[in-house]
Symmetry: C2
Amino acid sequence: MSDPTEDQLAALGTAFETFARRYKLADALRSERPLAELDKAVLLYVAEHEGCGPTDVARFLGVPTTTLSSATDRLVKRGFLKRERIEADRRAVALSLSAAGAACARSMVEAYRQLHLLMLSRLSPDERDRFIAMITKIVDDDS
Amino acid sequence: MSDPTEDQLAALGTAFETFARRYKLADALRSERPLAELDKAVLLYVAEHEGCGPTDVARFLGVPTTTLSSATDRLVKRGFLKRERIEADRRAVALSLSAAGAACARSMVEAYRQLHLLMLSRLSPDERDRFIAMITKIVDDDS
DNA sequence: TGAAGATATAACGAAGTTCGGATTATTCAA
DNA sequence: TTGAATAATCCGAACTTCGTTATATCTTCA
């Protein structure tokens, strides 16, 4: 199978660059003291993995556990996260979202959802499915 | 025209999340003391806009000019960037890349190119064009 | 001309973030 | 029962961001 052309590669690069900027703007216009990049990632991960441990999160996000500890500190301090010692292994803690944390995570997800909605709206209903199928194909290869 | 479905939105969100992670990894495995996120952005911008001024870059990247000043300081200190007073307006400086800076920018671009290549390779040649066309359509609306 | 105001950049410092190196508590294995 | 491994945290140094302030240089217009 022939290789992608340089033009195609360049076009893709430009598109992604624009995406990155849009995402950043969508974040930026959120109110209050904005959470650090890492903290947002932690919040979203915990939302999807209630009860996980700090080490899990650190491994997933590719940061040292000490860094993650700082992040959870900040989130706990803001009342977004709860740390609970668990019985099974008393060295470990289980992370979970507080009501406020869950609300914050929801609002982040919603902001992204709006952005995605806007994006897909530019395509015809037919194209949407084809686009999703292709982008999923690109991403789903776990190599 | 009907709205995108929630399933479509969710699928798109998942895909982008994965993209973000891949990009971050592509960055992470670069050697040497890694550049700060901002510094990389500055380097790439200057590569595309030789001779631009710090204020241009700050406006484009959406950061205060003082922050950008720090970034250019770091890049100059590492020998990646040159600052030259220009004659037309002696308050201003023109930014340009040193040989090392250009090399670094090239290697960053190349890393992204590889990533894009890998992505597009998962699609058939036909799909590639259609995919690019759609993603461009999504992005090109300057609303 | 020559002051007032605008503009480009840099210096400084406070607040916040990351991460390596201890440290503590607990579990596991021989 | 030790000793090694593991989960998490504390501490401190180095770095980043960004508001305030300072400096130099244009621009304008009376």
